[in-house]
Structure formats: structure tokens, C-alpha cells
């Protein structure tokens, strides 16, 4: 099968924290793939393994069929990483020029600046840029080399709405030119706006995968919290309820839809009090929805 990049049963731990617990992930040529998940789900670790910045403890990472650390693989990738700050005294254009020079077939510097919307501030030193402008420069550095595959790790984190939409448009433009994009995000909305396919990560595993429409339908869970005399086990058996458990005096319920469950609860327990309904956090929604907690990949040693 033709793949731009792949993780096979990748495990990675940092001290006692398990970042990846046997993740399988394939990026297909030409697609925009979103890795969606809460903080700590393993998104950044997955990107780091694919870029060869970290080595997996077990399993393998391949980039264009090669070791991600090989220069041959790297010349075809660009990356926007979360932690990067660049020297403050160099100007926007100088940064783009330098990074572009590392690649055999870079985009012309002016084109990169235009794609990232940086023409007007090309002569400004990094130290004088606003947060949104810095983020756009990081995006420009990712695409300066004319890569076939872009890694965008939380590209819009910390951006205001306008900057976010601007960056979304730039990412769409790139995808329209046939570039492959892997982006990580903890916003379903962002994944929905950009991706052809979404892989949901939680605790270092893939817990769901599908088109944005399919993922959205599954993620539309609600969290209900109330003080009730009903036993949590009974509540858990109500139709539409995924999970119910006691949390101090209150009972916490995860359900696909709130209204039928609330109606049923009130019918059974007129003394019910302190009712709250909120959107389920993504992780909860997906953990609740993944019926089978057994991860077969855990039990097998990788063949690589």
C-alpha cells in the first residue's frame, strides 16, 4: 500500500508516563489527516516519532518507507512544532530563506511568504511579531522547503478567531495543491473544518477513526450531573446511557442525548436535584463509546 508515513504498534513512555501504547497510524498520500485528542493523548509524541525526533521504545516509524531520520525522508517533510521559538533578531524573510536553503527543491521565498500571509512583515524581526504572526512564521517555515508532507502540531493553539480562520484557509490551499497534511488538534471543530479523515487519540491509543461527519456524530455525547436517590447501576441501564457513576453526593452520567435521559430520571426520582447538563469532553465521549477496552496490540510483540 502506498503510504506517506506510518507508525506500526508504536510504544513510547517517558519515565512512568505512557505516551503511546501501541499506536497504528497510516497517512495516505494527498489526504489531510487530523489527530484529535485531549492534551496528553500522545499527539505530539506521534508526530515526534514520525519526524524521527524521538525513537519508539517498541514498534516502528516510517516516513516515505524509510527511517524518519534519513535525510532522504526529511527533505520531503516540513514541520510546525509546538515548542519552537526562533532567534529574535533575525527577520521573517531571513528565517524563511535559511530554512528553505536546507531543501533541494524549496518554494521561492516570496511564494512561501505569500502563502503564509507574511509579505507585509517580511522585514520585521521575529522578536517584534505578535503571537499570531509568530505562528504564521512557523507555518511558513514548515512549507518553505516545498514538502510533500506537512506536520502541523497544534497549528492554531493560542490564536484568535481571525488568525485561526486565516491559517485554516492557508492549510486548505495547500491541501488543494495535493500536499499531504498531518495536523494535531484538540478541537473537534478544527479537525472538522480541515480534515478528510480524523483519528481520535486517547491515552496513547487510537480510539476512533473516520470521516469528520462520522466522528462528529459519535462525539455528540452529553454529560449529566445530578443528585439523585437512584443507584448508579440502575441509571447506567437506562436507554441511551453509556456510563453512570457516583461522584461524591452526585451522580455523573454520560449519554448520547440528554433530554430522554433527563425525562426518565425525573419520572423515576421526583426528588432529583442540582441538575446540570454539559457537553461531554471529547475524551469522555470516545472512551464511553469504545465498547471494547481490550487492546489486542498490547498483547503482541511487534514484528519489526
Amino acid at each position: 500500500m502506498n503510504e506517506a508515513a506510518r507508525l506500526t504498534r508504536a510504544h513510547k513512555r517517558f519515565g512512568r508516563t505512557v505516551a503511546l501504547a501501541g499506536l497504528d497510524l497510516a497517512i495516505r498520500p494527498g489526504e489531510v489527516l487530523a489527530l484529535l485528542g485531549p492534551n496528553g493523548a500522545g499527539k505530539t509524541t506521534a508526530v515526534s516519532l514520525l519526524l524521527g525526533l524521538l525513537a519508539p521504545d517498541r514498534g516502528s516509524a516510517r516516513l516515505f518507507g524509510r527511517d524518519p531520520r534519513s535525510p532522504a525522508a526529511r527533505t520531503r517533510c516540513g514541520a510546525m512544532l509546538q515548542v519552537s521559538r526562533v532567534p529574535e533578531t533575525l527577520r521573517v524573510r531571513e528565517h524563511v530563506h535559511l530554512v528553505a536553503s536546507y531543501y533541494p527543491r524549496p518554494l521561492p521565498v516570496d511564494q512561501t511568504l505569500a502563502l503564509a500571509g507574511l509579505q507585509e512583515i517580511a522585514q520585521r524581526p521575529y522578536g517584534e511579531l505578535s503571537g499570531g504572526q509568530r505562528q504564521r512564521l512557523m507555518f511558513a517555515l514548515a512549507l518553505a522547503g516545498g514538502p510533500d508532507l506537512l506536520f502541523l502540531d497544534e497549528p492554531t493553539v493560542g490564536l484568535d478567531l481571525e488568525s485561526r480562520r486565516g491559517l485554516w484557509q492557508a492549510i486548505r490551499d495547500l491541501a488543494g495543491r495535493g500536499r499531504t497534511v498531518l495536523l494535531t488538534t484538540h478541537h473537534l471543530e478544527e479537525a472538522d473544518a480541515l480534515a478528510d479523515r480524523i483519528v481520535v487519540l486517547a491515552r496513547g491509543r487510537s480510539v476512533a477513526e473516520g470521516t469528520p461527519a462520522a466522528i462528529k456524530a459519535r462525539a455528540a455525547g452529553r454529560r449529566i450531573r445530578c443528585v439523585t436517590a437512584l443507584a448508579a447501576e440502575d441509571v447506567a441501564r437506562l436507554p441511551g446511557v453509556h456510563r453512570a457513576e457516583r461522584d461524591g453526593a452526585a451522580t455523573e452520567i454520560l449519554a448520547a442525548e440528554a433530554e430522554p435521559v433527563v425525562r426518565e430520571l425525573l419520572a423515576r426520582d421526583p426528588s432529583l436535584a442540582d441538575l446540570e447538563v454539559t457537553g461531554a469532553r471529547l475524551e469522555e465521549a470516545f472512551l464511553a463509546l469504545t465498547a471494547d477496552p481490550v487492546q489486542p496490540t498490547d498483547l503482541e510483540e511487534d514484528a519489526a
Binding site: 502506498n2 505516551a19 505530539t44 524521538l54 535525510p71 512544532l81 531571513e94 524581526p125
Partner: protein, 279 residues
């Protein structure tokens, strides 16, 4: 390279997996090294916090101790001559330690290094650029000191003595580039300047870079041979034809050993970074 690599398979998809990327020509590689050095230089020159003290301190100290005191140094050598070697050593060591140590520590901390590692940048370009900048600063310091010495200090030396001293000093920056690199990997981004100052200033004093080593207390003279800066100062004094405590050969050997040890430490740090978590 032969011309047989011209057969390309036709791409079956927008991302042919097996396609060989074009190999870098020596010329492209040279371009990368040159650009990296140029931008490293611009970066540093635009940072007065680094450029000004690095260039000014050795010159100001030389004026204070070498020119203001018109007295004689050890063996009746004019201080203006003697201190050319030792403040030269002081200057190039500072340029190397701070240029490498602080920058490497900071760029590791900021993730700039990580971002570069995600690109196909040849790692050598990064280190070569920093070495080039340290050598450039060393040259500027040496030129500045020589100008002060020859004009205000009235120092007259044969041309080959000037050249010999200049070469010893500039080449003497290299071991301290290696040491700075090691410190850049050991120290955190915020502690690096403090750590380097705490090593650099006492070492400079005890090695006889500020005052002739003969003028130091006895116990300090005992420590001096354990300090790498001492050997660079001795090398410089030897180049001036002044009496030295260590032969040029022994000084070069000591500095070479110091370079190897520093590079080994830097290498450990570099490796450690590869397995490190971040963010």
C-alpha cells in the same frame, strides 16, 4: 558521482515512495554552510547584549591594566606587551564560551534546535556557523588589542611575532568552542550565562589572564596548570618570545586533550537530547 542515476521511475502517485530525492551537490552544501554562518553572524551582531561585552571587555581591561600602568611585568617585560597575550586569550575564550554555550543552551531550550532537527539541515552546518562566528569575534578582538598596543601602548614587534601571536590566539578559540558546546548541552537555557561566568571569570584570573601568573598567590599558581586557559596564555606568551613555564608543544597537547574531552561531553549531551521528551 556517476551519471547512472538518471533513470527515474514514473511516479504512480503524487508521492512515489521509492523516489530518490536529488542528492546535494557540493555547491548546494557550501551554500547551506555559508547561509547558516551568515545568519548566525547577523543574529549575534544584532544582539548588543552579546556583541558589546564580548568585544569591549578585553579591550577595556587591556587599557586599564596594560596601558594605564606603564610599569614592567615579569622580567622587566612591559605590561603592554605581556598583556597582549593574556588579554588576547581572555577575549577569545569569552567569545567562544559565550557564543557557543549560551546560544546552544538557549536554542535547545526554545526548541529552535528541535525545529532544525526536523529539517534536512546537515547538523555540521549549525556547529560550523557557530565556530565561524567565534573565530570572527576572536579576530576582531585580536585586531582591536593589537591596534591599542601598537598605538597607545607603543608596542613594537617584528611582523612575524604579531602574526604568530594572532594565529595562536585565534586558533586557541577552538578548544573553548568545544568546551562552550559541552556547557551548552549541560546547562539549562536560563542558567547557562551564570554557569559560564562562574567558570570563565575565576578560571581567567587563576590562569594569569588578568595579572601575570607570577603575581598570583602561591596556591593559585598551583591550581593554574589544571586550567585550560593557562595553556593558551602560555602559548601566547611563547609566541611573543617571552619566558614561559610550559613549552609550546606541551601547551598544544594540553589544549588538544581538553578539546577531545569537551567534545566527548558535548556528544553525550547531543545524544541525550535525541531521546528527550519536550513540550
Amino acid at each position: 558521482m556517476s551519471a547512472t542515476a538518471t533513470t527515474t521511475r514514473s511516479p504512480a502517485s503524487p508521492l512515489p515512495i521509492a523516489a530518490e530525492p536529488p542528492r546535494r551537490t557540493p555547491r548546494q552544501l557550501a551554500t547551506i554552510y555559508a547561509l547558516e554562518a551568515r545568519y548566525e553572524m547577523l543574529k549575534v551582531l544584532r544582539l548588543p547584549m552579546f556583541a558589546v561585552p564580548t568585544l569591549a571587555f578585553p579591550l577595556v581591561f587591556y587599557c586599564l591594566f596594560g596601558l594605564a600602568f606603564r610599569g614592567g611585568g615579569p622580567g622587566g617585560t612591559p605590561m603592554a606587551v605581556y598583556l597582549l597575550a593574556t588579554y588576547g586569550a581572555f577575549g577569545v575564550i569569552g567569545a567562544a564560551l559565550f557564543g557557543f554555550g549560551v546560544n546552544v543552551a538557549m536554542e535547545r531550550g526554545q526548541g529552535w534546535m528541535l525545529l532544525k532537527r526536523a529539517t534536512p539541515m546537515p547538523p555540521g552546518a549549525y556547529f560550523a556557523a557557530k565556530t565561524a562566528v567565534a573565530l570572527l569575534f576572536s579576530m576582531l578582538i585580536v585586531i582591536g588589542l593589537f591596534t591599542l598596543g601598537a598605538t597607545l601602548g607603543g608596542v613594537r614587534l617584528p611582523t612575524d611575532t604579531w602574526i604568530g601571536l594572532a594565529l595562536s590566539l585565534v586558533a586557541g578559540a577552538v578548544p573553548f568552542c568545544a568546551f562552550g558546546l559541552a556547557l551548552g548541552y549541560l546547562a539549562g537555557p536560563n542558567s547557562a550565562p551564570a554557569v559560564i561566568n562562574l567558570l570563565y571569570l575565576p578560571m581567567a584570573f587563576a590562569s594569569g589572564l588578568w595579572l601575570p601568573v607570577e603575581a598570583l598567590p602561591g596556591w593559585m599558581q598551583q591550581i593554574a596548570p589544571w586550567l585550560p586557559a593557562y595553556y593558551l596564555a602560555q602559548l601566547g606568551l611563547g609566541a611573543l618570545g617571552l619566558p614561559v613555564r610550559v613549552s609550546a608543544g606541551a601547551a598544544v597537547a594540553a589544549l588538544a586533550a581538553f578539546t577531545v574531552i569537551s567534545l566527548a561531553i558535548a556528544r553525550l549531551g547531543y545524544r541525550r537530547d535525541h531521546g528527550r521528551t519536550y513540550g
